[in-house]
Symmetry: D2
Subunit: 364 residues, 4 copies
């Protein structure tokens, strides 16, 4: 959780800029013996990959991952060895000319000014380290994390786009993969086509809310007090570019409920050894920072992409007034491609906590 | 950020249960030479202290802090020495009998079941380690953190209680300390008296939203990618008992804005060396995880207290169906006393980031 | 491994100065359900306790430990709960007057000058935080660590004192507890009586080498590359006051052997599932930073106590020339009481690594 | 200090196996604005590079480093940006056939058995992750660390080889770079030629002791208690392949001195603001874990290379008795090429501590 490393016993470190030769992730602490080839990672990168529909940036990146260490094939298929796994993705479509203006002026809403204020130097090609391209490394790392928690099923989706929310009654998990918005409500997906099309044509942008649900997390993962499962999820999600809010379970809505409304009644499971059954899941699957066996539910707010065609007042690097309108190839709604990133971060947090739980609890 | 320790170069570790002999915090990495006596800490504990109005728990704790290490008086007043500062608070009002039922049944919404599922053993007296009493240690530690960031002015307040929000036009910082709700809107404070009174009498409970604003944070604190200022604030806030959501700046509302609406235009400062002026602060004072010089704004959702008089279905520790109604001395709205805790956590995150910034940036 | 915290998943943080109200350790991450009372810790503290023979300092400290958190008795005996365990020891024999001179002059070989150079302020009463009293907290923490590695048997002893080494042929583990030097060679122990007596009477001091052997560590604990078992042991031992060297297995002697001499031949164990048998243990029980199943052997060099009666040239805090002769109550050979500290640190490192191994290896 | 990451605020993570496509280091936390190109790193790698004399392994690796991130040239030369610097070195000379036997049998003294015992799977080509090739990544990272501590001058050299020590009177720093042994004593270098030649021809191997001295470290770096400068140096050195011992200053010899002999008398510096002058440096430049302003002196014991031609009893991976004689291309004395690695690790520890000191001490 510091600078470019995340996690405790399953840790990953990412490196790379938007317009450098490439980017990567070093995953450390992965259990050995897990079957792993590039084919286990690539589908997740493909889901995040730009240029797949007209609703995302037209930058074209193959985002082909290479595993450079930490695996070995002793004759029975390639498996992890328990040593650091380095995943590398080359940058292939870097039109630096698109970004020449950023060298001199600060794009409002971007990290340009903050980076210069902090570092006094900045790789201005495409945002450098602050580019959303960094999230490709997270998605690659997330694919490794999934191998460590095979009992968990993750479902991430956009539940609200440009202020237009899905109808929970129309929720169909099948739909998520069948539209360019990771939208589980087919009607909403249709409406969003028009919304995003208009924003794209206007050079405007939209925000979104992404939800991720983890089924199959057993009771007991997480730890008080500063290592709460919720706290780690919050940190993980708020570290994603353009996120401004995180909720667990009912989130801010819980603050508007009474204690009676917010209670999640428990009943004995069907069989004596079954886990308890909950009547509701306002809590989002955690209590006291520890999983309860219910689905773990996280919601993440993505602001609208800061890159817009409308000129906005700003300053130049030497302090003069200017206006900035960002041309170029941008996602009109960065929350869409943020969906696989949210899912990856959830996998990484859960895998770390599974391993931490094992460390302390021995046999369990 | 792990178990019971928070922070990187300014780190604190808390210990203690609700009904043990006491609790404490060890603060490590504090700069030397800062004047520090108990009197610098006690006022913040007093603000969090229970039993001060009829709107909070009637448990009576002096919450008197003792400094057991890390300070020295060489004749010119007591100062920090740079070595670990141990702050200890004794528990004085522990009526264990109030909690006898918890030993056998799991209180819905509490961490009882999760703790047992994880640890197989649980200090059931008052919630043990999951009790909100742990936050007293945070508030004590926060008082040390404040000494490290004298340029920062923190203002935490309840901005919504039981679904009733303050009127931002009526915001008066002076009011915050003059009502039992940390409420900056005098009219709202009056309404809340009735709200909380009713909840208390009904044995019900209410949620709240707490906002904390940090003025005076210079541009440049924070760090990409997993050590973003926002990510650390999110982790810090979500580690507080009963929190279910965290927002930076406009938070979830930002997901409903267009790029144009969400932009924070920048203009040159008045004098050549002045920092830029922003026309708005949708971002809440950060960009790319780094402070921009604008006020840092965090909002935290507190669920309603889980302890309510209305019986809720639950199970016993041996898996039988039961109903639990929680008698005893509880805060009808835990978010109220959460306010000084939010402020303390913000101080701790900012102090850590100030020191991290120094580590990397040398002269600055 | 940072400031006042050691460990990764089993972590402890110590606080307290020589002449403050007390000192303590917070142990975080301990598995739950382990029977623990003060009686499980006190014997180890008693072994380190000053004033037990004329060969150690005459400072009289009860060193009585109190467990202030992290344990609970639900009716079947007190056990750990998995939450932070705070162990506290009060200081009872603090004759500050003995140390009045240190306020003005730097004792050569002590940390006085370095502390002032770093912090600009210093608790000069008895060395403050740099006092060997801090090691009491380690010994207390070590007693907890032992509970986590019941399969391991630790034996620490002084193998050389004032340049006089034990005869390995005369090694009798029984003897260690029967003389004031933790000496396994009864003849050597007799010689050391005279050695230390003379040093004590002369106001001089002696160094020592302490060895610790861990039997029962299974193959597989430890981890490449920077988390090697050897690296952690080296860090742990070099963090003890007055240590100047650490060896694993043959240590520096290995640098003088040929590859043939240094080889540890392996043979199959007696039964098919038995671990291999090694003909020798030059390696000291580790290879590539991972335990091999052989006894883990560490040796630690303690310099002679810096406090001596002979005046040594020094400077005052304001830079003037002076001479310092340290009167007061000092160990003539700090290595002797360092023995239980070495053993405690080894327990803490091994317990951490056992838990780390579990985290990554699942079933094992 | 955990698995494959070392450091606190200046952190590096290494990845890569002996016979994979390459290896690398991600350096995180580096200050921005430091001029950096491959040419600043390559000379240090060249010093460690194999195949440069007949006294080291004949494996031929270009060890050409590429900087893949964390630098930028805005027109005034390439500088660090403060974001993670990824350094990558491709493996070019991997004759896997040389290592086919290792797949089936455990080489005594190597990590083969320990890795299998831990992980149950092992990249047996050239030792995989346990190969000394990993140290190339450390040397590359060390070159970055040097940029952060320009005031420090590091000198590493072999002070003993095969039991034959240098004559300290004949110490000539100029000589170190003029012989293949990093030997500062020209006479000893000549003797070592014969020693190593004989070992090489016999298929035997020799150990060595490497010393590293850091001039220019100001008083005040380091921190009690578990983050002592000495403790970090010990951890850093003991993490290098084949090391078995670490000494600070007089090390084990200090255990044989009296307090009078071991004292380092201090005198006022020449001018009022000058640091004090020490008459000797038994302490090796630290006291209480903090630098004193004297040269920091570390000594590291390297065991003889485990790969020897003489057959040694061992077991196969399925537990049968066998004998292993290691043919192939090996360093007859791994300590020689360990010299630049020791120097790199010292640079990395010191740079981390300089930055930590800045974090806590503000202006200083």
């Amino acid at each position: 959780m510091s600078w470019n490393t995340f996690g405790r016993v399953l840790r990953f470190t990412t490196w790379g800029e938007s317009h450098g030769p490439g980017l990567g992730a070093v995953i450390d602490g992965c259990p050995p013996g897990l079957p792993l080839t590039e084919a286990d990672i690539q589908p997740f990168l493909d889901a995040r990959r730009p240029g797949q529909s007209r609703y995302t940036t037209q930058r074209r990146e193959a985002d082909a991952v290479r595993i450079l260490s930490g695996v070995f094939d002793a004759g029975e298929g390639q498996v992890t060895t328990g040593t650091p796994i380095h995943l590398m993705i080359e940058n292939t479509d870097q039109r630096s000319k698109d970004y020449s203006q950023i060298a001199k002026s600060y794009r409002p809403g971007h990290a340009d000014y903050a980076y210069d204020a902090k570092y006094g130097v900045r790789d201005y090609r495409g945002g450098g380290r602050s580019s959303a391209r960094e999230t490709a490394a997270r998605v690659a790392a997330g694919a490794i994390a999934r191998l460590i928690i095979p009992q968990v099923r993750l479902t991430a989706f956009v539940c609200e786009l440009g202020g237009d929310a899905i109808d929970r009654e129309a929720f169909d998990p099948q739909a998520i993969g069948e539209n360019p918005f990771f939208c589980p409500d087919r009607e909403a997906a249709k409406r969003w086509e028009a919304l995003v099309d208009r924003a794209r044509k206007d050079g405007s942008s939209l925000g979104a809310v992404v939800e991720c649900v983890a089924h199959g997390v057993p009771a007991g993962w997480g730890a008080p007090v500063y290592g709460k499962l919720d706290a780690d999820l919050a940190s993980a999600m708020m570290s994603i570019n353009a996120t401004k809010g995180v909720e667990i379970g009912d989130g801010f809505e819980a603050a508007r409920l009474t204690g009676e409304q917010n209670a999640d009644p428990m009943r004995p499971g069907a069989a004596p050894d079954d886990p308890p059954v909950f009547d509701s899941n306002h809590a989002g699957g955690t209590a006291g920072g520890i999983s309860t066996g219910q689905p773990v539910v996280v919601r993440v707010a993505f602001k609208p992409t800061s890159s817009i065609l409308t000129p906005v007042a700003s300053i130049t690097a030497d302090g003069q007034a200017t206006e900035v309108a960002t041309k170029g190839r941008h996602d009109p709604c960065v929350g869409i491609r943020g969906t696989p990133v949210v899912e990856a971060m959830m996998a990484l947090v859960l895998a770390d906590h599974r391993m931490l739980h094992r460390a302390q609890m021995a046999q369990r």
